[in-house]
Amino acid sequence: MVKLEELFANEENRVLCLGNEAIARGAIEAGVQLFAAYPGTPSSEASTAIIAASKKLGFYAEWSTNEKVAFETAYAASISGARAMTACKHVGINVLADALYSAAYMGTKGGFVLLVGDDPHCFSSQNEQDSRWLGVSAQVPVLEPSNPQEAKEFTKLAFEISEKFESILVVRSTTRISHARSDVQFDKYETSFREGDFEKSNRYKCLPALARANHPKLVSKMETIKEWISESGLSVIEGQNDTEYGIITSGISYAYVKDALEILDKDVPVLKLGMVAPLDEKSILEFARDKKNIIFIEEVDPYLEDRISALFIQNGIVPKIHGKCTGITKKYHELNSRLVAEALQSVIGGKLASVGEIQKAEEEITDFIPFRPPLFCPGCQHRAAFWELSKVVRKNKGIFASDIGCYSLDPWVTDTILCMGAGISMANGFSRVIKDKPIFAYIGDSTFFHTGLTALANAVYHKANINVLVLDNRMTAMTGFQPNPTEVIDIADVAKSLGVEYVVEFDPYDFENGKKIFEDALQHEGPTVIIMRKICANEWWRQQRRSGQKIEVYHIDPETCIACGTCIVQYQCPAIYWSIDTNSKGKKYSVIDPSICTGCSVCSQICPVEAISKAVDTDE
């Protein structure tokens, strides 16, 4: 990742950075004055960079408790004339949608940008939802960059367009743009900020009569923007003019098309849309009018294809359509230049090297390649908590509604994972129809403040007989260790003040205590709240190493070890592995890798033969 100083140095420079960092630079060059966001892959690095820069550049930025809070915070700044921005991952849109849809009616004043990171292929997500539809459903303009440089330029431009039309501007990135790395041209920027001033107006009250009046204004605003795009330079036509074929694309798919045409050695005109909502109807119709075939290349939903096909019908032009409807690309997962080359070849021809031999070899080895899912880090407190819990849950045949965070990696007891904050509410629902089994919910601190709070209030209000387990690892670990309100608000106090009668806390590494508490909690009519508080082991370990502190690691005695696999196979601490050689009884034994053991002690507590103990001090 680029050095922070380089990221906001106020000079012209070519800097090697991530797409997300380029977006952050775009926001800085545009003079963003207030930034608020909730983390989520693949958007987080943009927010991290802007928040870090804010301290140096003297503007306000925060990690908010959730996307809706972040959006609303930024929106207020915008309607006070300041340039404001928020960022989230695609599913974050669902959380802020309530504010977004009405804010779109009311419009903005200072430039307002909503960065959304979509994740085709679900690299780090629970679905592949496609944010381009916001342009239709929420009626907000959507810009779609196709590389890191454009990501920076479009972010900057988004502020300008937003101010020009008093509209919220969505910048839609995808994982392959946000996490692409390339050299990006940075420009100089102004550092003076405007003073905020709120001009009172009925426009900002979404009461029915006012909203009814605002909606036609929004519709005509989108019409105006539509007229404007064709002059904006955002739609680009490349390639030789040709009446046979034309390709329409946008975003990362454009990059795949460029590569694919090179591979196929074909020159076919391409219309690349920089703005995907509203659609640049003028340029699209001009491009397509004389063509017999129009090919759509886009990831996931047939967004351009469906909308532009409708446009063709409305305007009486009838090219043959190739795209998702003809199956040349799929409606799921990401594309790459090969997939696009294959798709294009099926329509326009061209030569494409066979990969038959490789595919054959691949088939022969697929079953052999082991599945390697991500795991809890060595010493992870979640793993410790789940170990004890899983026994209690299994013994009582409980139902376990988990949530979204590092704890989603639990290999043992999780029954459901839906979306952030769903664990507690689903446990409530389970408890209403399943009477003979204990119901558990599991939630992390960040998720607790994100959407767990309201669910817990509901559970208390309706006396849900559930056991809520909060793992407070002091940060938002999964998305890169961001801070959250647990730093200053005690979750135990929150639960108590909400009216939860049974609130206990314990250290998840302390199994003896944990066992007693879980059994005890089950005797109580719920909701109960059990808080396991322990700093994220990974972050703790890094802090220790950085500050040169010694870590007291554990060690396994080869002669005592009976190779039962409790620590390796069942507990699955990644720091433990099977020995290469054998002990004096000719048996393999388990070994701890001292370079990654965090010294959590858990393996020593679960070893049935007490083979594991603190390592004697040797100099590393």
Binding site: I358, L409, W578
Partner: protein, 200 residues
Amino acid sequence: MSKTYKMIVCGVGGQGILTITDIIVIAARKKGLHVLGSEVHGMAQKGGSVVTNLKIGEKLHSPTNPIGTCEVLVGLEQNESLRYMKFLKPRGIAITSNTVLFPISWKKDKKAADNAKEKIEENITKFDVKLVMIKAENLAIEAGLALTQNIVLLGALSQVEEFPLTEDELRDALKQRVPAKYVEQNLKAFELGIKTVKNL
């Protein structure tokens, strides 16, 4: 250079995959070459399978390298090298550490693990590639820091014909990228990587 040089670096989260790409990218930039990479952030980093795409050249568009296109694969773990072998083009070069990290499915059965381990190389040879197997762990330990296995492989990579960056260019970038207090061990690891390939 007119042709685009495509490569991938793979391994298990935590093995220093991003460091290798960082160094290459720094060196390429210094030389005035364009680079485009695609990295993995987030979930998979926790001990999962990780792959990074890299392109060096003039006309760079998409950030990923599809099946059958890479000149070189640098693998920090044998299973992972095998997993991504399909991305190499025919007769591409696979520089692989002989390290085997057991995924949990293998840890369950000690014997199966040993058997499987023997078969990895055999499976790699099903692909039409040039395999360069390197005892990266031993060499890294010899260099004085077990964590420098990635740098050993980088040394080996510098010897690949047509690789657009020279030994010196990589060495400079390495010094810039690794923590100051470990530069010495890293340079040693780099040299050892060069040497093993020369001795092949």
